[in-house]
């Protein structure tokens, strides 16, 4: 079993999570309500209350390399039920941001799906569902993804063959461009 060195908390990590989420992680008293209500707990490697505890203990690596932070769907059960009004789902979101920045993606396919989705928005201004599927398959090599849905899906004639382009799509793609420039500027400073 992996042991966690409690005598060397990464204080900068605790501070960063608190600042970026606007939440006081130290007010968590480990009641476990978040974990009790978490629908994804069965698939997690670390339960959400353990993630909270590890953040309090400044365990950057253990937290950012966990699978749980990628599997969380932001369903808001934890946030809704926390007796100390901690926005736990927001903390999970911030941990995903930090994991991305650190180059960790323990659930590759989840990240690939999100990336494919956003590339579609950047390109067309709206999501082009068939395009997202194609791009996801390209990124992951999972050629048979959802092929079994075709017999049910195709006769319904729901999926547009062409993307729905937004007239102001350059406006949308410029948001992404400025976002990347902002992040590069932050890294350089």
């Amino acid at each position: 079993m992996e042991t966690i060195p409690l005598n060397s908390p990464d204080k900068e990590f605790i501070r960063e999570v608190q600042e970026r989420s606007g939440q006081n992680v130290l007010s968590c008293y480990q009641c476990g309500n978040c974990t009790a209500g978490c629908p994804y707990n069965f698939a997690y490697d670390l339960s959400v209350s353990r993630i909270m505890r590890l953040v309090q203990l400044g365990q950057r690596e253990a937290v950012l390399k966990s699978h749980s932070i990628w599997l969380c769907a932001t369903c808001q059960s934890c946030t809704t039920r926390c007796p100390n009004s901690i926005d736990v789902a927001k903390i999970m979101d911030v941990l995903r941001h930090m994991a991305r920045e650190a180059g960790y993606a323990t659930e590759r396919n989840v990240k690939a799906f999100g990336d494919a989705f956003l590339e579609s928005v950047e390109k067309h201004g709206r999501v082009y569902e068939l395009g997202v599927t194609a791009s996801y398959i390209r990124k992951t090599g999972r050629f048979w993804t959802d092929v079994d849905l075709a017999p049910a899906m195709l006769p319904k004639n729901k999926l547009s063959i062409k993307p729905h382009e937004v007239r102001g799509k350059e406006h949308v793609s410029a948001i992404f461009k400025r976002f990347r420039e902002r992040d590069t500027a932050k890294e350089n400073s």
Partner: protein, 291 residues
């Protein structure tokens, strides 16, 4: 009664949830609500955007709220809870004078004039109301046992959504009851269906949507009523995948509340897009005398 609001259909409304958009527009027209689609609206960023960056997410959403305000709409409604959550979160961020400049920096536009956001469900419940719906029903949904499934974010977090009960919402239950249906006490109203895991993590949807179908079946649910395009897709389009993964043989129709409400208000099967559903609800609706 005359209500006129801005309308944000969301991307899935012109794809996988085309019947939600169609039935929403038809029901609103029938109830005297004028929906003015925001011209040139763009994607809110959905879940992927907020998992990458909160300001990016807010800027993608804020573009639409600013557009709506420019087009003279102070209030926007959307049928999709995921769009709703993103648009509302963006609203909060641009109301905050300390945060607004960060959003404006990405959008490259001032955000001081922006529309407010609600769900079409909230609009129908709060501004039309149950008495008006009861009066407008021409085809009661009697002899139909339905379970209303709200999904995880229509009402949560409560501090952001400010609508209905976050643990035991009743908005759709009330609407279905007003339409004459028998509403079953569905205990998993706000439990997650597996959300966007459908493509990257199928085992999660099989487990979570499987639980919902198990409980619906145990209550002898004839039709599951939803308000979220992602919930509906996981339960309907993916019902076969869930069955194969779990060794079950469910065949439960999963419709949007606007489709059943529309039928009760006298709209045709075609007008509410029934043929777009994968698990066909028409045998049950015929048996109940609704079609």
């Amino acid at each position: 009664m005359s209500i006129s609001v801005g309308y944000y259909p969301g991307c899935s409304g012109s794809g996988t949830s085309v019947e939600y958009d169609k039935s929403t527009r038809a029901v609103c027209k029938k109830l005297g609500i004028e929906l003015n689609e925001i011209d040139d609206w763009s994607c809110c960023g959905s879940t992927p955007a907020h998992t990458v960056d909160h300001t990016l997410s807010a800027a993608l959403s804020a573009r639409n709220l600013v557009l709506a305000a420019k087009q003279g709409q102070e209030e926007v409604v959307t049928p999709c809870p995921s769009c709703l959550a993103n648009l509302r979160t963006a609203s909060r961020k641009i109301e905050d004078e300390n945060y607004r400049p960060k959003v404006e920096a990405l959008l490259d536009e001032p955000c001081d004039e922006a529309a407010s956001v609600a769900s079409t469900l909230q609009l129908i419940v709060e501004r039309v109301g149950m008495d008006a719906i009861k009066k407008a029903v021409v085809k009661p949904l009697k002899d139909l046992n339905v379970a209303c499934y709200y999904g995880c974010i229509m009402n949560r977090p409560p501090e952001l959504m400010q609508f209905d009960d976050p643990e035991n919402p009743m908005a759709m239950d009330d609407i279905m009851e007003a339409c004459g249906a028998t509403v079953l006490p569905f205990p998993l109203k706000v439990e997650c269906c597996g959300a966007a895991a459908g493509m990257p993590k199928k085992n999660i949807v099989a487990e979570l949507s499987g639980r919902l179908l198990d409980v619906a079946e145990s209550l002898n649910t004839e039709i599951i009523v939803t308000a979220c395009p992602l919930c509906q897709m996981n339960l309907d389009l993916r019902q076969g995948q869930v069955n194969r993964a779990n060794g079950t043989r469910y065949d439960i129709p999963v419709v949007y509340f606007t489709q059943l409400l529309g039928l009760a208000l006298g709209l045709s099967a075609e007008e509410v897009g029934l043929s777009k559903l994968v698990v066909d609800p028409t045998p049950r609706l015929r048996f109940a005398g609704v079609l």
